[in-house]
């Protein structure tokens, strides 16, 4: 809340010099320099494992660097824990929010730094303080609302207010838009820009190119623990940043040509289940139907109901003309359905099991088994074939699934399901948390699968993914399909509006999306 102590406006707000952090087997940061000027929005980019997380942990006092120095407002500091970092004016919004759902906004904001009166918490003062801060920074939120009742976008505001209340001059935001609608994201960036205009500094850790281009002043790109690029946002392009992140030219946001739809494979009429109602849709052979929507608007429930993991309360589901409304998951698979679930660690794989065992699931009663026997040699052979075919990077089929990177685990999961050659494929968030390089590979696989005459139902929160892959786009909002577009009509703005309930910019999302946990 106070202006920076140092008088010289040219002194960087944050200056990391030669930060080296070694973990056994990896050099997470190798002599990394990062300079963040006061009053700028600085994006820190890089793929998973590039070292940005480690660098921020060092800055925030969660990790001690092996070498290098940290200067805040020109003064060299050594933080032994995040408390020290906060005292020096840093504040971090974690990807998974750290709020008490059952307390009010005001209580959360002042928590552990409460205004006191006669040794008791002064609730009136707390509320006033939140109102003041909210007004000052354009972060409108009701101080008396229970945090648990707020949509994700507002919870994030509470996190930011919390930092401002404690006097943070430099805000570090970790993947802040992962759970926001495009409208909410725009609102967030407006807030960040106004904070920067007041002389506060923002460090944005993200992998989303679009928002970096729109919302930041400077970009530092890390790869394999090194700084590989320092760019001025106004003078760079998405392609340049992506090339720096991956170390090679990447074709971004490729829009694939439309497929040639054939017979109806999946026919859903008036489907209802928990959180989903009145859903009608068809998916034809040779087409990808995309479902866009902010997380938590019924997409997961719909897909689970289609996969047989959630009971259907009313309506009808037909696969290849047969009624499967009340069929079990196994019966549906036998009928011709494969499914890539959203959560690859908790649902899509068993990370503790070997790669071979993970690849065998679903094939273990069909192609790999004879009279109930499941020969280990068949399981291994199957694993080797899929590892080769889908380019999964695994030391051997025997290593546990947890030893694979996020992208490779996703390749394993998608490869296993594609190998069923099922007429219908359900795919949820196929590239969430996956590196740019692997995204391209996964998209190509899905397009090839479609072109081979299969029907694909794709659920994704990434608009660019929906636009690039889908032949038709449906938008889900509050459990219903509220809009449908042909490929040509589905531009980002139209979809963004529909995802926010058609109301535009500010997002009236009433359903609370599950807080995403990073991977």
């Amino acid at each position: 809340m106070t202006p920076p102590p140092s008088a010289d406006p040219e002194t960087p707000a944050v200056e990391l010099r030669g930060i080296t952090k070694r973990f056994p087997g990896t050099l997470a940061n190798d002599a990394v320099d990062l300079t963040v000027r006061r009053g700028e929005i600085h994006a820190l980019m890089g793929e998973n494992g590039a070292g940005k997380s480690t660098l921020m942990s060092v800055l925030y006092g969660m990790e001690r660097p092996d070498a290098g120095s940290v200067r805040i407002d020109g003064r060299e500091v050594v933080f032994s824990d995040p408390g020290d970092a906060m005292a020096a004016g840093l504040g971090m919004v974690h990807q998974s929010f750290k709020l008490f759902d059952s307390l009010t906004v005001a209580e959360n904001v002042v928590y552990a730094a409460e205004p006191r009166r006669f040794g008791l918490v002064d609730r009136g003062a707390a509320r006033r303080r939140v109102r003041e801060l909210a007004e000052e920074h354009g972060l409108a939120v009701d101080p008396d609302a229970r945090v648990g009742d707020l949509p994700v976008g507002l919870r994030q505001r509470v996190e930011i207010l919390k930092l401002l209340h404690r006097g943070a001059r430099t805000l570090i935001l970790d993947e802040p838009t992962a759970v926001l609608t495009p409208g909410e994201a725009d609102a967030l960036f407006a807030v960040l820009k106004s904070l920067a205009a007041q002389g506060r500094t923002v460090i944005l850790v993200t992998h989303k190119l679009r928002e970096v281009l729109e919302g930041s002043d400077n970009v530092t790109v890390l790869r394999d623990g090194h700084v590989v690029a320092r760019l001025v946002t106004a003078e760079t392009s998405a392609a340049e940043i992506a090339a720096a992140m991956t170390g090679r030219a990447v074709e971004l946001d490729r829009v694939h040509s439309a497929g040639t739809p054939g017979d109806v494979i999946l026919d859903v009429t008036d489907l209802a289940t928990d959180g989903v109602r009145d859903v009608r849709l068809t998916v034809r052979a040779g087409e990808i139907v995309g479902i866009a929507g902010v997380a938590g608007n019924g997409q997961s429930e719909l897909v689970e109901a289609l996969a047989g993991l959630r009971p259907v309360t009313s309506g009808r589901v037909a696969l290849l003309g047969d009624d499967i409304t009340h069929a079990s998951a196994t019966e549906r698979r036998a009928q011709g359905l494969a499914y890539v679930p959203e959560d690859r660690h908790a649902v899509g794989t068993a990370p503790a099991a070997s790669v071979a065992d993970n690849l065998a699931m679903g094939h273990h009663r069909t192609s790999l088994s004879a009279r109930g026997l499941l020969p280990p040699a068949a399981v291994r052979g199957h694993a080797r074939r899929l590892i080769e075919r889908f380019g999964i990077k695994a030391v051997s089929p025997e290593v546990p699934g947890s030893s694979l990177s996020g992208g490779n685990l996703q390749k394993l999961l998608i490869g296993r399901e594609l190998a069923h050659d099922a007429p219908l494929l359900l795919v949820e968030q196929p590239t969430r948390g996956v590196d740019i390089g692997a995204v391209q590979n996964i998209h190509d696989q899905l397009i090839a699968y479609r072109d081979a005459g299969h029907a694909v139902l794709l659920v994704s929160a990434e608009l660019s993914e929906i636009r690039g892959l889908a032949d038709r786009v449906l938008v889900m909002y509050e459990g219903r399909v509220t809009a449908a577009y042909e490929k040509a009509e589905a531009d980002e703005r139209t979809l963004g509006l529909a995802m926010a309930g058609g109301a535009g910019g500010s997002a009236p999302v009433t359903q609370v999306a599950p807080v995403e946990v990073g991977d």
């Binding site: 973990f23 056994p24 087997g25 997470a28 940005k52 997380s53 480690t54 921020m56 942990s57 925030y60 969660m62 990790e63 824990d81 995040p82 408390g83 906060m86 005292a87 974690h94 990807q95 998974s96 750290k98 709020l99 552990a112 730094a113 970790d174 996969a307 047989g308 993991l309 079990s328 998951a329 196994t330 549906r332 698979r333 499914y339 679930p341 908790a346 649902v347 899509g348 794989t349 068993a350 990370p351 503790a352 099991a353 065992d357 065998a360 699931m361 679903g362 273990h364 009663r365 088994s369 109930g372 026997l373 499941l374 020969p375 280990p376 399981v379 051997s396 025997e398 990073g518 991977d519």
Partner: protein, 370 residues
């Protein structure tokens, strides 16, 4: 057998040494030795007595008899544990199995050898049926298996106790026991020892478990359910059916142990004798120690059988109380629960601290404040 092909023996040994099991057992032995030294006893002599008393010429018989029960019950608990299910009702299932075998043995009109087979089958069926009841409680009414299996155990034991004290009580005896089984209605023993064909049955059960676990589609579903039940359910493994089947198998093994107990010396059902030694809990410990892996369960059962029998012998020969072996068991379990292991040369750490800040939830912000 459980390892990948083409691994050299050295890596196998290295891997075994790095496992928490090896660490726990070794730590137990070392700390046990410190206890012995502290009480003025000679650890070498004490451990020597444990080994010679359990594996020597006089000890091996009792050890194998104990192994029969411990391994049988360890398998009974390992089978559901492999899928993440815990059957705490081994006592009840075993006692019902024993009682069913006793009743069959006493009243079967068939010739003795067939009666023995029938009694074994009856024991297994009784245990299986009773365990299945616990599974149904979970499947139908949502009573957690842990609770349903444990609580059902007590009425089963009481029911068998009632039968042994009243309707089936041996006339004129002061003990709560049934009449002795007719001559010939007994499991054949090896030579003059107390080791019976029951040991073979249990070993065959272990081999079957190994085969099912490693080489069948059902075993695969069982393992995957244990490693991640949501993953298995997602792929269509039907959990309720799996629970029912695994519990039935588990109960039949417990029932088999009961039947073997009745069909061996003293050839009758004596109230409390099957459960007195607490083999169900030893079996559970062995299954947990091995993470329900088939080969590991056999080894762990053998380890505990040696400790139990050797402990008695140690007490006789060295004046060290046999409680030492229980201390040893306890230490092993504590270490195992802590999942300690020998460190690698370079310790690996989670190198993504920022993505997963160690303290989770809002509570942790306390630590971040000034």
């Amino acid at each position: 057998m459980e390892q990948a092909p083409r691994t050299s023996p050295t890596t196998l040994i290295a891997r075994a040494l790095r496992s928490p099991v090896a660490f726990s057992v070794l730590a137990g032995v070392v700390i046990g030795a410190l206890f012995l030294v502290g009480t003025g006893a000679d650890p070498v002599a004490a451990y020597g007595a444990v080994l010679s008393g359990s594996l020597g010429a006089d000890g091996i018989g009792p050890t194998l008899t104990t192994l029969t029960s411990v391994l049988g019950l360890a398998l009974a608990l390992a089978v559901p544990l492999r899928a993440g299910l815990i059957n705490l009702g081994g006592d009840g299932q075993m006692v019902l199995g024993g009682m069913a075998a006793a009743v069959t043995g006493l009243y079967s009109p068939l010739p003795a050898p067939l009666t023995v087979v029938l009694a074994l089958l009856a024991g297994m069926a009784a245990g299986a049926g009773y365990a299945a009841l616990a599974a149904l409680c979970e499947n139908r009414f949502g009573v957690p298996l842990l609770v349903s299996s444990l609580l059902l155990s007590y009425p089963a034991a009481s029911f068998a106790s009632y039968l042994a004290r009243y309707p089936l009580k041996e006339p004129g005896s002061s003990l709560p026991q049934t009449r002795q089984l007719p001559v010939g209605v007994a499991l054949p023993a090896f030579g003059s020892s107390t080791v019976t064909v029951g040991l073979l049955l249990v070993v065959v059960a272990a081999a079957t478990y190994w085969f099912t676990d490693r080489r069948t589609a059902f075993g695969y579903e069982m393992r995957m359910t244990g490693l991640n039940s949501r993953f298995a359910a997602y792929a269509g493994v039907e959990r309720k059916g799996l629970t029912l089947r695994l519990l039935a198998v588990s109960g039949s093994l417990a029932g088999l142990v009961g039947a073997i107990g009745v069909l061996s010396f003293p050839y009758r059902f004596l109230d409390g004798s099957l459960t007195a030694s607490g083999y169900t809990w030893t079996g559970l410990t062995a299954a947990l120690l091995a993470g329900a892996a088939p080969v590991g369960t056999v080894l762990a059962s053998f380890f505990f059988a040696v400790l139990q029998v050797g402990g008695l012998s140690m007490e006789r020969t060295t004046e060290v109380p046999r409680e030492l072996t229980q201390v040893l068991q306890a230490i092993v379990i504590v270490f195992l629960a802590a999942r300690l292991r020998f460190p690698r040369f370079a310790r690996r750490r989670d190198n993504k601290p920022f993505d997963n800040p160690v303290p989770q939830g809002p509570q942790s912000s306390q630590g971040e404040l000034v």
